[in-house]
Every structure is written in C-alpha cells, then in structure tokens.
Amino acid sequence: MLTVDSFPATRIPEAAEALRPQIKAFLADRLAGMPASRRARTWSGFDADFSRALAERGWVGLTMPKHYGGAGLDAFARFVLVEELLAAGAPIAAHWIGDRQSAPLLLHYGTEAQRQAFLPRICRAEIFFCIGMSEPNAGSDLASVRTRAVREADGWRLNGQKIWTTYAHKSHYMIGLVRTSGTPEDRQKGLSQFLIDLSLPGVTVRPIRLGTGDTDFNEVFFDNVLLPDDALVGQEGNGWAQVNAELAFERSGPERIYSSLVLLDLWAATLRASPSRADEERLGKLLARLAPLRAMSVSMTGLLAQGQSPLTEAALFKDMGTELEQAIPGEIADAVATRLDTACDPELMRTLAYLMQLNHVFSLRGGTREILRGMIARGLGLR
C-alpha cells in the first residue's frame, strides 16, 4: 500500500549539489534583465538559443552516457539542474521533452544506431522533440488511439492525427504512440512508438490558438507519411509498456510543483516592505505544502535512479503538486486584491495575469486529476 515509506527519506548527494553554484552563476548572468512575466513561463518558454547555451555547458542530456554526448551524471544532478532552471524561470521548453523523455527512451529502448544518430544531437540541443500521444478521440483514454502505422516493403505508412502537441511547430521530431495492429477496441495491445521526422512529406502541423493568444499547442496531421524501417522505437506492440515507463519520469519531477514559483517569489519579495499577518500566513501555508512535495520528488529521483518505476507515487505527487501550482496564483490574487488602496506592482500584475489564465491547465497536462486519482485508488487496493 501507499505509505510514507513509499517515499524513503532521501538527501541529494554532495556530488550533485556541487553543480548548483555553477548553474546559479550561469543563470544569474544569462537571465539578467529578463522580466518575471517572461520567466514565469519556465518550461513553457521556448528559446532555442538558451537551450544551445545550456548544451554548450554540458547541461542538456546531463544523464546521458558520455559516449553519446551526455555528461554521464546521475538523476540527482539532473534534479539539481532542473530545480535551478525552474526556480529561476529559465526558458527551457525547446530541449525539455528531448532531455526529459525522448533521450532516456532512446537510451533504454532504442537501437544502437538510433542512439548514435539522435542522442548526441539532443545533447547539443540541435534537435528538439515533441510527444504525440493525445488524439481528438484519445486524451485521458490514451489506449483508444487510432493513428495507425502499417508495415510496407520499405517502411511504415502512417495515417492519422495527434492533438495538443506542445511545440510541434518548433520541434524536429515527434515520439508518437500509434496503432500497429488491431483496432481501438484492442486497447493497450498493438500500440507502438515511432520516431517521426516532422519534415517528412505528408506531415502538417497546425497551431491551436488559445484564448490568451498563446500558440504552444498544435494539431499534427499524418497523410500517408512514409516512415523508414528504423523509425520504430523499441518493440512493435510494446508501446503501451514503453509509454508507462516514461510516465514515472514525466510525473515525478520538480516541474510539477514549481510552475508558479517565479510568481510566488516575486510576490514574497514585495512583502518585505510591509508584510501583513494574513500575507505571512498565506505564504507560510503554501510553503508548508511545497516542502513535503519537494522531499517526495527528491525521494522519487532516488527510486528512479535505482531502476524502480514509482508510477503510483508519481501520480499522487503530481496530483498534489499541480493542485498547489494552481492554488498559488489564486492565493496571490486574493492577497493583492485585498489591498484595494495599494497599486499592484506592474510586473507582479503581468506575471499574475499570465499564470491566472494558465493555471487551470496545470492539472490537464501529463495526466488529468481524475485519471491520477484513479491510479492512486488502484495503488490503495480499491480497484
């Protein structure tokens, strides 16, 4: 059963902590002058130059083996790196998916040729990845995907459509989950993962414009796209298991608790001048929720490093983490609008407005609240 022992008390090793001052120094220099309202985008902020500058320091693909162009460091080092990037509000979206998911996937399931072809380029931030999971009729019900790849003499013929694909319009490759046998009624069986070159003929990327004016999301259409033989990742038919192995990585990291951190710290800084008792309590309650979540993320980093796959733990963590990320803008809005006779700092207002219009999606991306709670219930022995 899920208990506190599912999250063993874990400290970040000294070797990993040693990286922190270098990262802080780099970020202080590189992000100097960037307004908080832009930094608040953090892992939604796309800046290819920034990603390449990080890569030059060896900080993209940190955990990849050196012979594939990585830094050969452990998961704790990556936790430190990511924590600093998020806390500072660095724009890391360009390399984010490749670094977090695609590279580990290829390292684990890819062929030697795939590793050699892709990992060094990911580590140099030359190529960026997106994830093709959701479809118009397969969101939370991921196993019902209809996009299909059919084997042909010279490769795979791909037809179908993906949706909500973050930064597909700026990515070079998609790791797509598609059906290679059976029908949607076969559910998890017959799914496979493919490396899809988005420059191939027949691929159309169409942006989805949000009410805020943002266009991070896309629809991606595949019209008779011919994929080469070696586009298959891992085993044919093993896609579901492979995707699930990724999920623990996708849901356990500090990005599930720090999406509103830039705002929280901007607001906390304004309190130095004239904190009210109510503001202090509000700040304290948020920190009291944040601290155990960070401890849980560090703990899962240790579990993943030992080769475990804490899927249920990650679901529990992410559900609580996104709830907190969502609560922060609401709490700060409440605090700001309590002081009717004090003008809100303009940058605080811009940052707050950005996050207030975005925070409701924090619990949609990467598995919805209802799906996660279902997983927790299974972990508790209820299903």
């Binding site: 059963m1 899920l2 208990t3 506190v4 022992d5 599912s6 999250f7 063993p8 008390a9 874990t10 400290r11 924590e83 600093e84 998020l86 806390a87 500072a88 500090p254 720090y258 951190l261 929280l264 710290d265 906390a268 309190l271 130095r272 904190p275 008792r277 503001d279 202090e280 309590e281 509000r282 700040l283 304290g284 309650k285 920190l287 009291a288 929720r289 944040l290 601290a291 155990p292 979540l293 960070r294 401890a295 849980m296 560090v298 529990l316 559900d319 609580m320 209802e370 996660l372 709670r373 279902g374 927790i376 219930a377 508790l380 022995g381 209820l382 299903r383």
Partner: protein, 324 residues
C-alpha cells in the same frame, strides 16, 4: 530507513498494538489513569531511546524515533510517552535525571495539553530556564481523550537553561508526528471499510466518487507524514520544519477527518466503533501547541526575513531532511 530501523519499528508497532488496545483506550477515556498502559510501555525500554549513550540511553536520533512517535498516534496512546522520551533526553543532556516513574508532558503555553490528563510531571518555561515540575492537578479533559486544559504545578524538581531548546517547538513537532500516525490509522480503517461495506450491491470502494475521495485522503496523509518526518530529521526541532509540519497536519485534519467519517457514515462516530478514537484526538491536537494560522505565520515570516532568492532555496536551507 535502514533495515535495523524497520525491525525496531515493526517490533514497537506490535508491542503498542498489544498494550494500547482500543478497549483500554475506552477505559482510559472514562477515567484517565497511567496504568496499565504506562508500565507496559515503560518496560519496553524505549523511554531512554533519545538519551545519549554515555548517559545510559540508546542514543537514537530524532529521525530514528519518528516512526515510533507516529505509532503512538496510530494507536491513540494517551499517556505522554513520546513527550517523556524527549524530556528524559533533554534532562540527561543537562546532567539531570527524571524520576523513574515520571510521565512527563511538555507544557508550553497552549489551550490544551494532549496526553496531559494522566501525566505526573511537566516541563514548563520559567523565564530563561526550563523547569521539571511535579503536577498536583490538571485541568479539564473536554475531548474525553486524555487531554488537559491546564496544569497545577507542585514541587519544582530541577531546572536547566532554555537556550537551544524550545518547549513549544518540541511539543508541536511531536504533535505533528502523532497526528500523522492517527491519520494513517484513519486511512487504513477507511480503506478496509470501503472494501467491506456493501451499498447498492457492491463495495463502497468500487464507486468512483469514493475512490477519488480516498485518493485525496491518502495524498493528505502522506504529505503530513513527510512534513512530520522532515521536522524530526535534524539534531533538534527547528522552527521551519515544525511550522510546516504542524501547519500541514492541522490543515490536513479537516479533509482527512472529513473523508474518514464520510466514508464510514454515522457508524464511525459511535462509541462502539474505533474510528472516533482517532478522529477526536486529531481534533484535540488541532487545538494544541499552535494552529495552522499560527505556524503558517511563523513560516511565512521566516521566509520573508530569510531573504532567500527563491522559495526553492529557502526550502533547501530550512525545510529539507536534516536541515538544522
């Protein structure tokens, strides 16, 4: 936790389960008395767990003792066992010794002192010093859960300098750990009940609405347990760690108690059903040693004064395992 620790924890859990049975808790509630629970627990040899080895104790760390304190909460132990462990260690570290049979509560200013009804002694603040006093009486027990609204002080047995030890912090830290234990009991009882109780032809736990509530409950319980563990992971109790743990425990109690009783229905509140033994104690703990607003205010003020560049820095410096 290493293997030695989990052996220790398992044997302590069995021991406490045998000694502090729900029946004994009910007897205690009718007329609070140390015995028979106190002697049986004292015989276990854990009272000096935190006393340094060169003073004749086991020299365990707060972190090693944390699971034991949680277990006391899990079993609604209403005598001041955890509190006496901490008091004996503090006294020993200052060259003093508590009377062998003393059941000592920590008594900083607080509207209620859980586990105080049957206590024989207390540590109290006395200006710059902390004094060990004998109790000649205790206040009311409004929850009928072994608490006391106050104490009447008799002889002063000894005292020690207060520097480096804050009674209020230690009391709140131990409270959070016992609350974490009581919550895990509520969770396990609720899960069992949801799997057994049939409504509309199937177990309650098969209804998605119930599943989602129990998932939320588990989240809250684990969050409190992790916060309480962090509060007991250093050499002593520090403000940030205790503030986060007690604020979190108090806040979570609303949801955790609410869901436990919602899943059980009215039977959970009855005298014959065990659930209320733990949920009433949790509510009593909410009133003790600082509310969520009190501790959240302390934590927020500390964050503002600390001047950390980011809250991640603040948490790393003040609120992670082993932060001093």
């Amino acid at each position: 936790m290493n293997d030695d620790n989990s052996v220790l924890t398992d044997s302590f859990r069995r021991l406490v389960a045998d000694i502090a049975t729900p029946e004994r808790t009910r007897t205690f509630e009718a007329a609070p008395a140390l015995e028979p629970v106190w002697s049986a627990l004292a015989a276990s040899g854990f009272l000096d767990a935190l006393v340094p080895e060169d003073c004749g104790g086991a020299g365990l760390s707060l972190a090693s003792v944390f699971p034991l304190v949680m277990i006391l909460g899990e079993h609604a132990v209403s005598v001041p066992y955890a509190e006496t462990m901490v008091a004996r260690a503090l006294l020993a570290a200052n060259g003093q010794q508590a009377p062998d049979d003393a059941a000592i509560i920590l008594a900083p200013p607080s509207p209620i002192l859980p586990n105080g009804a049957a206590a024989t002694h207390a540590l109290v603040n006395d200006g710059e010093r902390i004094a060990l006093v004998r109790l000649v009486g205790v206040g009311e027990d409004p929850f009928r859960a072994g608490g006391a609204t106050g104490i009447q002080i008799g002889d002063r047995l000894c005292d020690l300098p207060a520097d480096g030890f804050d009674l209020g912090l230690a009391a709140a830290g131990l409270a959070a750990a016992q609350m974490a234990g009581a919550m895990s009991r509520l969770l396990s009882m609720s899960l069992r009940y949801a799997n057994e109780r049939q409504q509309f032809g199937r177990p309650l736990g098969k209804f998605q609405a119930i599943q989602q509530q129990l998932s939320v409950m588990a989240e809250q319980v684990i969050s409190v347990q992790v916060a309480a563990r962090t509060a007991m992971s250093g050499h002593g109790f520090n403000v940030a760690g205790v503030a986060a743990a007690k604020a979190r425990a108090n806040e979570a109690t609303h949801l955790v108690n609410g869901i436990a009783h919602a899943v059980h229905g009215a039977i959970g509140a009855t005298e014959e059903f065990d659930l209320q033994l733990y949920s009433r104690r949790l509510k009593q703990w909410q009133l003790a040693f600082g509310s969520e607003s009190f501790w959240a205010g302390q934590l927020g003020r500390l964050r503002i004064l600390a001047g950390s560049a980011t809250s991640a820095d603040f948490i790393r410096d003040h609120l992670c395992d082993g932060a001093a």
